[in-house]
């Protein structure tokens, strides 16, 4: 019964206890974090099972029923997201144990606490059924994220400040839009809002509210042309922060857009301009992301630009406006998180051995780190869209949906970006395959890093093969019947 909130509470408790531990018994901070993540993951899985068995779970925080109190509403899609987020955080936390303890040294307790908080924030965003609570959770996730991303080498504070400014503006626009909706309806609860909006006449201000909310979320999710912060923020920071944030932030924001479209505005008539603008921006994001990724020498920045293109995939799918494309976007939220996690984890392991991630620095990796590279190849293949990896199937739905709606440019964008990904990744693989490793290279592959990475990489195949199941059980029931 309390499973919904119990996915979140261990993380918050973990953050507080890790801070306490940091100033008393600092060796305890890491185990506390690991236990918190593990507990949260356990409850998330339990929640997913119970949601699959009994349908949407609702939790009244403080015992106040909506619309007066705050509720958590977890349907199958959000339960899946919760499992995904907690799992990816857990794997990151386990795989980067050495970094967290060495690199952050005496700050490791604070780092662990912020790690828990950002995960809790993202999970809360997924679970909440209240628009204003969503804003607070966005800020919890973002604020801890700024700190995690800002702690790094020379340029990371600037990149993080840039992210902070843009992210705050995005969140503020979202807040403004929520204010608009509140003023027009008098409610903040998603289900209540949906009821009122469906019953009230369509007005200009309502369109304005939808526009402002979406604008804010687009800014937050780094949709072109608001993507400026992303490559810097993920490309400069410590590998562990990048690995934690990259699979979560943009995907969770896409989740929020989907949630708002299907839970708050299903009956509302969204002005035609918005989907048109969104698909155009999404297509532009795909092209710009691919081209910019091409021009990067640093492989982490390259991955970050691929993320920009991936955001385009998802936004395009959401706004194309048919069931198939929406399915594709929702599936891609899962797929993209998983493959981003694989790639960033692998790159993090490599960066620890090799330092700078320029192409020239990656020679002979296939020989020195075969397992890490095998996982990296799987992640890359998924990004390219090779069956039976997960990335192929979401791309399939997106292509199919785009074709059904006649969005040929978007379709071309998807294909071009796949092809560009082939070039990008094989450029890296060529270096790692053909060039002999330098004399001084002493790469170490430790089982504690390889195991989580291997699990995630294998998950890409497993999830790909069960994508039919995922669509049936988690996604199909969520998309409103009005969307054909």
């Amino acid at each position: 019964m309390h499973d919904v909130v119990l996915t979140l509470l261990p993380l918050l408790l973990g953050a507080f206890l890790a801070t306490l531990a940091g100033w008393t018994r600092s060796v305890l901070a890491y185990p506390v974090g690991a236990i918190a993540l593990l507990t949260s993951f356990g409850f998330a899985v339990k929640l997913l099972c119970s949601v699959l068995a009994h349908g949407t779970a609702t939790y009244l925080l403080g015992g106040w029923s909506p619309p007066w109190g705050i509720v958590f509403v977890v349907d199958t899609f959000s339960a899946g997201m919760l499992v995904l987020i907690s799992a990816s955080a857990l794997f990151t936390f386990l795989a980067f144990r050495a970094e967290i303890l060495d690199h952050f040294a005496e700050k490791s307790a604070a780092f662990v606490a912020l790690f828990m908080l950002t995960v809790a924030g993202h999970m809360g965003i997924v679970a909440t059924g209240d628009l204003f609570n969503l804003y607070v959770l966005i800020e919890v996730a973002a604020l801890s994220g700024y700190a995690l991303l800002g702690f790094g080498t020379g340029r990371s504070p600037l990149a993080s400040l840039n992210y902070l400014c843009i992210g705050s503006v995005g969140a503020s626009f979202y807040l403004l839009g929520v204010g608009y909706l509140y003023m027009l309806t008098g409610s903040l609860n998603m289900a209540d809002l949906a009821r009122i909006i469906a019953a009230s006449p369509v007005t200009v201000s309502m369109h304005g509210a939808v526009g402002v909310i979406l604008l804010g979320l687009w800014v937050k999710m780094a949709l072109f042309p608001f993507h400026g912060w992303l490559p810097g923020a993920y490309g400069m920071t410590s590998p562990v922060s990048a690995t934690l944030m990259a699979p979560l932030t943009t995907k969770v924001m896409v989740y929020v857009v989907i949630r708002i479209l299907i839970s708050v505005l299903p009956g509302a008539s969204i002005p035609d301009a918005i989907p048109a603008v969104a698909v155009t921006l999404a297509t532009a994001a795909i092209f710009v992301g691919s081209v910019m990724a091409f021009r990067q020498t640093d492989q982490r920045r390259m991955l970050a630009y691929i993320l920009v293109a991936e955001v385009g995939y998802m936004v395009g799918g959401v706004f194309i406006g048919n069931r198939t494309a929406m399915t594709g976007a929702m599936l891609h939220v899962f797929a993209d998180s998983l493959m981003t996690l694989t790639l960033f984890m692998a790159v993090g392991s490599i960066a620890r051995q090799r330092g700078e991630m320029t192409l020239g620095n990656l020679s002979g990796l296939f020989r020195t780190m075969p397992f890490t590279m095998a996982a990296f190849v799987l992640g890359a293949m998924s990004m390219i869209g090779v069956p039976p990896l997960f990335g192929f199937f979401s791309k399939w739905y997106l292509l199919s949906g785009a074709l059904a709606s006649g969005q040929y440019v978007f379709m071309a964008g998807l294909l071009v970006s796949s092809l560009v990904n082939v070039v990008l990744f094989f450029r890296l693989f060529e270096t790692a395959f053909f060039d002999a490793p330098g004399e001084s290279v002493r790469d170490i592959e430790h089982w504690s890093r390889v195991t989580p990475l291997a699990i995630v990489a294998v998950l890409l195949i497993v999830a790909g093969l069960s994508s039919g199941l995922i669509v049936d059980r988690l996604i199909a029931g969520i998309i409103p019947a009005s969307l054909i």
Binding site: F393, V422, F434, G468
Partner: protein, 487 residues
Amino acid sequence: MYSIYSIQPLLAVAAPLLAVPGIISARTPNIREAWSFAAALLLLALLACMVPAVLAGHTYTWVLAEVLPGAPIAFRVDAFGMLFALVSSSLWVVTTVYSIGYMRAKNEHAQTRFFGYFASSIFCAVGVAFSANLLTMYLFYELLSFSTYPLVAHHQNEESRKAGRKYLGFIVGTSIGLVLPAMVAVHHFTGSLDFASGGIALGAADSTTLTVLLCLLLFGFAKAALMPVHVWLPAAMVAPTPVSSLLHAVAVVKVGAFCIMRVVTGTFGVETLQALHLNDVITGVAAVTMLAASLIALSQDGLKRRLAYSTIGQLSYIVLGAGLMTTAGLTGGMLHISMHAFGKITLFFCAGAIYVATGEKYISRLNGIGYRMPWTMTAFLIGSLSIIGIPPTGGFLSKWYLLNGCIGSGQWVLALVLLVSSLLNAAYFLPIVYRAWFCAPDQAQHSGPVREAPLACIVPPLITAGISVILFFYPYPFLNLARLAAN
């Protein structure tokens, strides 16, 4: 005629993959190669179990996962797939023997990787053969592209890096850029990708769309090396010879031709294509490729490059068979998969044997080599005859059926093209034989006593050459399968 739901197809597909962990973990080279043999024999045994039922007209099916609506990952063993799987797997055994001889004689590096990826390539080829729908076929097709990349780039030098780039660029570029959207469109129009669904109904899409789709699929399966997407094949010849012989004469390229044939018969359907006269597109492209490739082959001095262009030409025979849309034509096309496989692999084996024994790669330097390597060059002669289509070799039979198909459907031009192409085949193969036997050796190392390549490099070409001859007299397993499939 019934369908047997059984896990056997999956087991057969997975059999080569089973060898991979063994190959990687083996302590000594002998144990490693034993794994390859074990997997190959297991695969053959599994296929043999299914052959009787398939010959009786039944099919085996197995669904692995329901991934997309109307397009699960599923396997189906029918006559055509069985034919291709039999060819690939039986030649895998022979090639493994040959690889052992070749790789050890040349003292190649990274042999474990080589055998590992070799096994996984066969896995993909069998997977393509047993695919029940376009999606499954695409899956294995893509995996095949990526698992042959390390083989093409085996030498890890600048030349193989360039070849690898070209290879991937063409193969993956076309499969993602052309096949994927075409597949999505087919799924959009028909709601299914299954080969047995009878193809796209005539009214589902207008003829322009169908033409575009056909072209996308025709050129998208670039492994079939239709012009102008054939460029990768000559480039891929930098790979070690066992790779060229099994993959770039049999498994990989025939996967391309196989896919085109499947798509033509299964996805579009003969009726639809004939009604829209789209078969002319197929035969046209095939005829042009056939002649052009043969002409280019004439001018090649590199032995393997000449063989590669010959392969490009011969693959078009198969595509031509698909485009003829008659029973005889289809039979011929399918039969050509096996006949050409045995003939061409013999030639590649011989080229490799020559390279191992003498280090020669160019035709102009092969004068009088027949005296030094009589066994090899005998096998080479038989292989050439089979490719040209002169009895008593298997190549004659497939060409006979193709010619019958042309004449039967009144396509006299195509019949003429076939004959001219065969003449050209003779024109680029017989000079090599002539040089080998009738020119005085101008290289010192070619004269003197008989000094052949190691035994493991000699026996395989002799075996395949022998089979080429036997197939002329006893073509029944393949012929029956092809006939069954064509009907």
